[in-house]
């Protein structure tokens, strides 16, 4: 019996390519995510005396959309990135839950500022996680 639609060989990969194409059509750019290295775990790090080292991870293609600023004037952005660009990097760190990994990041570098990642949501196409929507706040 032929596979059900969700199991067609290569379908997930084609959906990822489709998602990347969507990003490029909307004027793809690059964003930089900042990931903190594991803390030392000693008293100094628990008391906020030692900042852990961090790595900057460039991600492209991505689309950046300004959102309505917060009531106090802080800027907000929605950033859309493709799973095809996130997954290979996440794999290097042994990450399986991309959403939890993204929201626990130190933030996103944009216009010379480090923005906090507040929310992460996922668009699935044909049962495959394809697009990650990140809301970042100044």
């Amino acid at each position: 019996m032929p596979d059900q639609p969700g199991n067609i060989c290569g379908r997930g990969r084609s959906m990822l390519r489709f998602a990347d194409a969507l990003l490029r059509i909307q004027g793809a750019t690059q964003v930089t995510l900042r990931l903190a290295d594991p803390a030392t775990g000693d008293t100094g790090s628990q008391l906020g005396l030692e900042a852990p080292a961090s790595e900057d991870l460039p991600i492209s293609p991505a689309v950046v959309k300004p959102l309505t600023p917060m009531a106090d004037g802080r800027r907000r952005f929605e950033v859309v990135v493709g799973a095809s660009s996130l997954r290979p990097i996440a794999k290097l760190y042994g990450v399986e839950d991309l959403s939890a990994w993204l929201i626990a990041m130190t933030g996103m570098l944009m216009h010379g500022a480090l923005l906090r990642i507040d929310t992460v949501s996922i668009d699935q196409f044909a049962g495959t996680d394809c697009l990650f929507h990140l809301t970042a706040t100044e």
Binding site: T40, G41, T43, Q46, L47, G48, M105, T106, T119
Partner: protein, 163 residues
Amino acid sequence: MQPTKDSFYVALRDRLVIVDPNRTVTLDGVTRPAIAVLENEPPTGAPPLCDTFYLHWGNLRPADLAAGTLMTLDCTISYCTKGTMQNSSLDRGRDLASLDNDLIAICAPPQTAKNDYSSGSPVSLGSNIFWTQPVLNAAKATPPYTGREVIVTVFFYPEVNQS
């Protein structure tokens, strides 16, 4: 003020290791006792973890005109749990009670030596801090989570040349 905040946290953390050595959490890639000061943690958008005590520092004010320079600093300790998956979260009330017991245990005795940790290792400042008995507010239920906030007021004398 900072030595008071640091000494209070370190005292509770060290007591938690003795009272309930299995109550640990993985934060920033490190497994440690399940207690953290919110303002010392990375300002990410990640929600607070379950079964972990979070310390939030609040109002600072003089204790009393008659008490000289004695100051008070409010500390709110918040925690929540959702029980275990094996028990379909039906044990969340029991888990909350276990957290309550641990917190009451680590808050006693209500005093500790005040140390300066700014150099990385504790340096005795030759005085103590002390605090009130914890006041456990009503549990707040947001299924499957249940949790509560606890208020403790810490008393200390400000150090000369100390922030």
